[in-house]
């Protein structure tokens, strides 16, 4: 999993590509963990290049969201592919996240 992180004034953008499954979810967790460790609780997750996410991936997002919200921050999702949007729906977790059409709108709303 390629992971890139970009810092902006009021949020960090994390972008990864490929599959977020039981095999790779921990890498994503680590990536978010590094941002959270810096006490930065505004995160945009750019999902444009995510091909697949399993429940393990969803949990990483939910746990990260918990941590962010506890510190009055937020994890928001940008560029979420249709299939993955569908998984959030199916799992009934959609309402825990704000979805943005692109990274610019996501960053612009922090």
């Amino acid at each position: 999993m390629d992971i890139s992180k970009t810092q902006y004034k009021r949020c960090d953008v994390v972008k990864t590509s490929g599959r977020i499954s039981s095999l790779t979810a921990s890498e994503l967790e680590e990536a978010f963990g590094e941002v959270l460790e810096d006490k930065k609780f505004g995160i945009v997750f750019d999902m444009s290049e995510i091909e697949f996410i399993s429940s393990r991936g969803l949990w990483v997002l939910l746990e990260t969201q918990k941590t962010c919200k506890k510190s009055r921050g937020e994890l928001v999702l940008a560029n979420v592919p249709e299939n993955i949007q569908g998984t959030f729906d199916l799992a009934g977790m959609k309402h825990f996240f704000t979805f943005y059409d692109d990274v610019l709108s996501a960053v612009g709303n922090f």
Partner: protein
């Protein structure tokens, strides 16, 4: 292994004319099921075999997963509850829930002469 089983199921579903959304969902269900076998049935990675067969007939795709790991009582597993504030959500346990959401029939049989089988059926829409 996990990704190969997923690929096999997606290929079968595509060939059978399932739409892309359902193909993706099938891949997800199978991934969740295999992950459970690996992590709960066998208690970790690469500790045992999973056999997968996948067939299409009468507008139904049937996936059978067979393993020789630990058994459990599916009917005792509660559904996750997301109608609570986020800090109250119990993180764990959406895999079975997603499998049931995606598949039309889900049947567990344990300790048969051929090990444990999980049979999942999805109707073509």
């Amino acid at each position: 292994m996990l990704e190969e089983i997923g690929a096999l199921v997606v290929q079968t579903a595509q060939d059978a004319g399932f739409n892309p959304k359902d193909c993706y969902a099938l891949q997800l269900a199978v991934d969740e099921a295999c992950t459970n076998i690996i992590e709960h049935g066998y208690g970790g990675e690469s500790r045992g075999e999973i056999e997968c067969s996948c067939s299409y007939a009468g507008d139904q795709l049937t996936v059978v997963l067979r393993d020789w790991g630990q058994t459990f009582s599916p009917e005792d597993i509660p559904e996750p509850n997301f109608n609570v504030p986020i800090d109250k959500v119990q993180t764990r346990g959406a895999g079975l829930f997603l499998i049931h959401k995606i598949m039309d029939q889900v049947t567990f049989e344990f300790n048969t002469p051929n090990g444990n089988t999980l049979t999942m059926v999805k109707q073509k829409s």
